[in-house]
């Protein structure tokens, strides 16, 4: 009974995420067309769209990862259906509030909403800031309940040491922690920490908002907290996707299940420690931040990502190299997604190196790398899960004749769209401009090229959507 309920709510998550994704991609294309001077949006509309696009994308791919992890975790432990429902309801309400604040209220302080921008109306409605902060509060509460619930369920079966797979540092461990549990636990800890950072941040925002000038915030503190939340959650949602891959890649490829070894345990424990301090690399330009924290930011960026990437790539390589693999759309998406994650991750590590950041800071290099590991990495992890999930309960689980076409469009669209960002970054074109000044003659043509390829990517996503949503609807409306 419980698993049927879980199946149904997971279908709702899949459909919700895909619909919101299509809307968010469309907003992204409109922004690139505006930068390319093909269409004309007012700056307020552009930045409202930028805010909606950024926050919706972060939100949906986080919940997509959580929904997948929640679904697969049922194999090892009993999860809370109520927490899942609360998260879904709060997510839908939160997104509606966010969109009201941005589309109607014209709130446009970008997804980073760096202090004190939310308090500068600049053409937005007076109520928009409060609604925006309230939307983040609703989203945060829903996600925090869900994350704590999942963590609690893991701890009901595994001790802290077992959940972190510390016994694997010794020879012949008596208890084995599945890689899926290890990565999920480490990710949930990071998620909870960054959601607590969001709570502190929002409390400080509310305090200033309601104090009417009697209390003001410290810009450096607010920026640290914003990136503690924002950078960390953007990383953790990738790790949720990786937990799914550790669980499913070998299974759908017809290979033996991956096991936790000492180096897998070590790499992921490194991630647990260092991902919480990697956000300091967002503050290299803040001269008041002590130099020690800047150095920690650079080292943590390496130590949080490289070991985990190393063991994952090694595991996938071993799984596919000179091995007869049962390729399907699911493991193809996982495989391409890992390539996108690694390429985008390298771009991020390059940018997090202080000497490079001086050159790359706030150029199109930044959206280039984070779109690489999201649009061609994490999104593909979740799409792989969505496809696998939708075919689990379908009589018609044959590979669609459109599979090759879809993947081709996805690759051509995704790579072309990303290259327009990378070439723009190499040309020192700044990011976050609604209209480029004449000093950057290549900026507008690059943006138009980017929009064109992004449209091809959107077509691929639409094919995926029509392929998956019918099966999800069947699961949703099937008799209990």
């Amino acid at each position: 009974m419980e698993s049927i309920k879980l199946r149904k709510i997971t279908s709702v998550w899949v459909i919700t995420v895909l619909i919101l994704f299509i809307v968010s991609i469309t907003l992204g294309i409109l922004m690139r067309l505006n930068q390319g001077e093909v269409i004309s949006q007012s700056p307020v509309t552009f930045y409202s769209n930028l805010t909606t696009h950024g926050l919706t994308m972060i939100g949906i791919w986080f919940v997509a990862g959580m929904a997948a992890v929640n679904y697969l975790m049922q194999r090892y432990i009993k999860t809370s259906y109520a927490a899942n429902v609360i998260a879904l309801v709060f997510t839908v309400i939160g997104v509606l509030m966010l969109w009201t604040a941005t589309f109607i209220g014209k709130f446009h302080a970008a997804w980073t909403f760096l202090y004190p921008l939310p308090f500068k109306e600049m053409g937005a409605a007076t109520w928009a800031t409060l609604l925006f902060l309230a939307s983040l509060t609703v989203l945060g509460i829903g996600w925090l309940i869900w994350s704590i619930s999942l963590m609690t369920q893991i701890l009901k079966k595994y001790s802290i040491a077992q959940a972190f797979a510390w016994q694997h540092f010794k020879k012949n461990p008596k208890v084995e922690t599945p890689p899926f549990i290890l990565i999920s636990m480490i990710t949930l800890i990071g998620v909870i920490a960054c959601l607590f950072a969001a709570v502190v941040l929002l409390v400080l925002f509310y305090a200033e908002y309601f104090s009417k000038g009697n209390f003001v915030n410290d810009a450096l503190l607010m920026k640290n907290l914003t990136y503690f939340f924002g950078h960390t959650i953007a990383n953790e949602m990738l790790y949720l996707g990786l937990a799914v891959i550790y669980e499913l890649f070998s299974e759908v490829s017809g290979r033996p299940k991956w096991k936790t070894t000492w180096y897998v345990a070590l790499a992921w424990n490194f991630t647990l420690i260092f991902v919480l301090t990697a956000f300091f690399h967002h503050l290299y330009m803040d001269f008041v931040q002590p130099e020690g924290l800047q150095i920690i930011g650079q080292l943590a960026s390496y130590l949080a990502s490289l070991p985990a990437a190393g063991v994952t790539v090694f595991s996938v390589f071993i799984a596919v190299y000179r091995t007869k693999i049962k390729w399907s759309l699911t493991n193809l998406l996982f495989f391409i997604g890992i390539a996108g994650w690694v390429i985008g991750g390298l771009g991020a590590v390059i940018d997090s190196t202080i000497s490079n950041n001086i050159v790359l800071h706030n150029t199109l290099w930044v959206p280039a790398h984070f779109h690489t590991y999201n649009a061609m990495g994490n999104v593909l992890f979740s799409l792989g899960f969505f496809y696998w999930f939708s075919t689990q309960f379908s009589e018609n689980s044959k590979v669609s004749k459109f599979t090759t076409l879809t993947l081709t469009l996805l690759l051509i669209g995704g790579i072309g769209f990303l290259l327009a960002f990378y070439f723009g970054g190499a040309d020192s074109i700044p990011r976050r401009y609604s209209i480029y000044p004449s000093d950057f003659p290549m900026a507008a043509p690059m943006a138009t090229i980017g929009a064109t390829f992004a449209t091809i990517y959107l077509i691929a996503i639409l094919i995926f959507f029509f392929n998956i949503y019918k099966r999800c609807l069947k699961i949703l409306f099937s008799p209990s």
Partner: protein, 255 residues
């Protein structure tokens, strides 16, 4: 009763006027930053007529506004400026333009002023007049007021930094220390100048507290908030683990 009302109105009037006049130098210095200065035609001593942009295009400018009949701040202001800059003789990254804002001043008066300060042969210094002083004053929010009783202008000692593209990068009001001059020169050369928020009663949770006397930062309460999320998470992990311990089954040992 009527006298009281009149007295009250006069008092309020003076208070309002007084408040209007006491706009702090700090606020005035923030006006027009990163705006373009008016490109006034200049009559420069020892040179032909040229426009302001020809001067700032050549090198960034420090613009000092004075008048030759000034019996107040102009002379000590210029003297201090000359002294501050003479220790920076090797720094030829900027020029200095001394411009009269008094329409009565002629180029001959400015020549005499240059001679008085022994700057007439200094290639870094220009002395000039302009017939568009009103527009230029507006572009830098400089508002000298003529006082007919003392036959003098009531004005600020204003030094304006202009970069080579004509943007106002920094303004200094009053006779200032060498450190302020360093910041001004850095700004006209588009070099980043750090600024710090001064302590305030309303700012409770700073990460660092800047002491203007020592120029050093001390650790602040705000740093606790950065560590708080991680600390709360660890405490929650231990707390939950402890309270669900009894529900934990024996996990099968791996062979």
């Amino acid at each position: 009763m009527f006298k009281n009302i009149v007295f009250t109105i006069i008092t309020i009037g003076f208070c309002i006027k007084g408040n209007a006049q006491t706009v702090s130098a700090e606020v005035k210095e923030e006006r027009n930053i990163y705006e373009k200065i008016y490109d006034a035609p200049l009559n420069v001593a020892g040179k032909q007529q040229l426009s302001l942009h020809e001067l700032y295009n050549e090198k960034p400018l420090l613009l000092a506004l004075v008048f030759t009949r000034c019996s107040g701040v102009c002379n000590p202001f210029l003297l201090q400026l000359k002294e501050n800059l003479q220790f920076r003789t090797k720094d030829n990254s900027f020029n200095v333009l001394v411009l009269s804002f008094d329409p009565r001043d002629s180029i001959k008066d400015m020549n005499l002023l240059a001679k008085k300060f022994d700057l007439e042969n200094n290639k870094q210094w220009f002395f000039a007049v302009t017939d568009s002083i009103t527009k230029l004053n507006q572009s830098i929010s400089f508002n000298p007021v003529w006082d007919s009783v003392i036959n003098q202008y009531d004005h600020d000692a204003l030094l304006v930094g202009i970069n080579s593209e004509g943007y106002i990068t920094k303004k200094l009001i009053g006779i200032r220390r060498g450190h302020d001059m360093d910041l001004l020169i850095a700004s006209v050369n588009n070099v980043f100048s750090p600024t710090y928020r001064l302590p305030s009663k309303n700012l409770l949770f700073s990460c660092f507290n800047y002491d203007p006397k020592t120029g050093k930062n001390k650790l602040g309460l705000g740093l606790i908030f950065i560590a708080l999320p991680a600390v709360l998470t660890v405490l929650m992990l231990i707390f939950i683990s402890y309270f669900v311990k009894h529900k934990r089954p024996e996990i099968e040992e791996t062979s």
